[in-house]
Assembly symmetry: C2
Homo-oligomer: 393 residues x 2
């Protein structure tokens, strides 16, 4: 690719959770101002705005969020748009990368946002399902939890994964979230709580074998990144986080049409592309945020990224390889599972976490010496994936 | 800006109108396949997909349109997203430009789509108003027609524009649409029809002084462009249409907060930027498509682009300067007013028209010898504007 090196110089996020005091606009403005403040840039330096949001028109009856954020910040005369790729907010960073790399802008703001707790769970679940196949899945009543249920069942049959393995992802990510002040779910859980004698009430089935604690919560939240070309970046910080590579890939939209539905081909292709661009291998990565909207997805992605052999992610999890202190800590933020999952913001929040990790600012959950970080953000039930590789300068 | 030269090598659109037989997916797929077929590229050559759409989640309960189009075309392993900038679908071409220019892809597909006739006029009007200011406009009941009414009234007071001038835009654009097989409204109108003794029934007030024929219709439609780097483009056609420049700019979201609400500053800034990048002046442009969602906007934009002095656009219109055969023909397609205005697709349809004009393929409405074309696409009531300058190779 032709262009300049691009880096992150600021990052921030709101607390994720049920935030009745924050509307869509406030959820954008607060982390944007904080990220710009932390990066020490002048507001007027922002040359382009990229907003990631999935359901603003449906749930908040608000569109043109790029313009709305530009206006709220008082930064005029610049390009500003909303990008939607289901819950793959990381797509917005791809556009910022292209803008800054090409010289269209020198400093760009990327803000992910979602206001979900304005509607009931069934309404939200329905709208999120709007990213499934419009003929083959959605009209048949397929929802994300139901697809996750079928995916998990296939995974269990093929690779010997047990419900307890999915529970281990939840336990690990809840543990991590306890150390993240921005996380939605701050609750210590144990395998006994999830599968013991009170399992039916503590952890009821949502879509067998998916139980309550296998699914991410419905959250409000916003997250923001300040992006600059490397030369500009160095004027503002001696700790820029360099975007070394990225990749995005589509797969068949309908899960049942995939040759091997347990393989997340989009994750594999996107991540390979990102790592190739960065000139690194999965074994080089020190910390990763994966898209654990359902616990089984973290296990599957840890394999399709290349951290572990296919079918062995659950064994690595058992060994503690993906815990903080392990070989390749995954979802130190708590992940979608416990940090929360405001769909348009989650992909940006993953990158905020990696930014903090690579700068040594992930207090209490820091991966010591982390130099290389990777994110995987899904834009559907595996039908679209966006991966990034970041390096500490 | 750093990067390769970028050109259009294919363009197509569906007929715009009330198309009950076409859902959102079909409205994307049909023009995409046609544009790719016309450009003679292989489906597998497509390296990225950019879908422009404003209201898919609200009106059709469908998101992730980029992935859906990638899947419907059977092109996998590529980036694919939806971009939303109100009715400024041209934003999607900006992203395709960056993707191709940087070398991220060599051939990209840009598809604009909107399915609007699934809901009643009041529901659609309400959702379109969702791009107005979330505190200062929308909750007060401001709709696009009401903002256009106030804008037109200011314009009449300040510059002596008469309702008949707005009518002249409608008459001209309806005339042009009669020569465009893809247009929504195929109806010859006259000033006497609009303002004569039957005006009250023929052309009732919508938001005084805006009358029925001052507003674009609510349409279904899709439009697509195939974009390639110039080197690749030349392998497929000896008539590529080169993207010489583009610009995008935001302005204050709330119309009443603008220093001079009759000035479309975003249009001025975006167009100046596009022409500067192209190295041309307004006087060099041979044909233009402007955003006439309301007739008064065509007059205002013709001034803010720089074709005419501020306050004199209506005089140019009187003289016939903007008619086919005039100095600078505007909206030869019929414009949003008569070609139709499926919001996410309109900006792409404007570019399709310029593509045809610059290749000499605008049969019956051809601007003879057209070499340079310009488009202006609004992403709100003037709060965001996207301009492009194209050149015949």
């Amino acid at each position: 690719m032709i262009g300049r090196k691009v880096a992150l110089i600021g990052a921030s996020m709101t607390r994720f959770g049920n935030l009745p005091e924050m509307d869509l606009l406030k959820l954008m403005v607060e982390p944007s101002l904080a990220a710009m403040d932390l990066s020490k840039i002048d507001l007027k330096g922002v040359g382009a705005i990229f907003v990631s949001n999935m359901l603003g028109d449906a749930l908040s009856k608000q569109t043109s969020l790029g313009t709305a954020l530009s206006d709220a910040l008082g930064v005029y005369g610049i390009p500003a748009e909303r990008i939607e790729n289901g819950p793959a907010g990381a797509s917005a960073l791809r556009y910022a990368y292209l803008s800054v790399s090409s010289g269209e802008s020198n400093i760009a703001l990327v803000t992910g946002v979602e206001k979900m707790r304005v509607a009931s769970t069934d309404v939200v679940t329905d709208y999120i399902s709007s990213m499934s196949h419009p003929y083959a899945e959605y009209p048949s009543g397929a929802t994300m939890p139901s697809l996750a249920g079928m995916f998990a069942r296939l995974y269990m049959n093929k690779y010997g994964v047990k419900p307890e393995h999915m529970g281990m992802v939840a336990v690990k990510n809840h543990d991590n979230a306890l150390k993240n002040p921005y996380a939605h779910l701050k609750k210590k859980i144990t395998l006994d709580y999830l599968f013991g004698k009170d399992a039916a009430t503590n952890n009821p089935f949502v879509a067998d074998p998916i139980r309550l604690y296998d699914a991410a919560p419905i959250s409000d939240g916003g997250a923001a990144l300040v992006v600059a070309d490397l030369e500009t970046a160095k004027q503002y910080t001696d700790k820029p986080v360099i975007i070394e590579g990225y990749g995005e890939a589509t797969d068949r939209l309908a899960v049942h049409e995939r040759e091997d539905p347990t393989e997340l081909r989009a994750v594999r292709v996107a991540s390979q592309r990102a790592m190739e661009m960065a000139g690194v291998t999965p074994q080089d990565i020190d910390v990763a945020e994966l898209h654990d909207a359902f616990t089984i997805l973290e296990i599957a992605e840890s394999e399709d990224v290349g951290f572990f052999k296919k079918g062995e992610g659950h064994l690595a999890l058992e060994r503690g390889d993906t815990s903080i202190g392990g070989k390749i800590p995954i979802n130190t933020s708590g992940g979608h599972k416990a940090r929360g999952h405001p769909v348009g913001a989650s992909g940006i929040a993953q990158i905020v976490e990696i930014y903090w990790q690579l700068r040594g600012e992930a207090f209490g959950r820091q991966v010591e010496g982390a130099k290389l970080g990777l994110t995987v953000n899904l834009g559907g039930f595996g039908s679209n994936a966006v991966s990034f590789v970041f390096r500490r300068a």
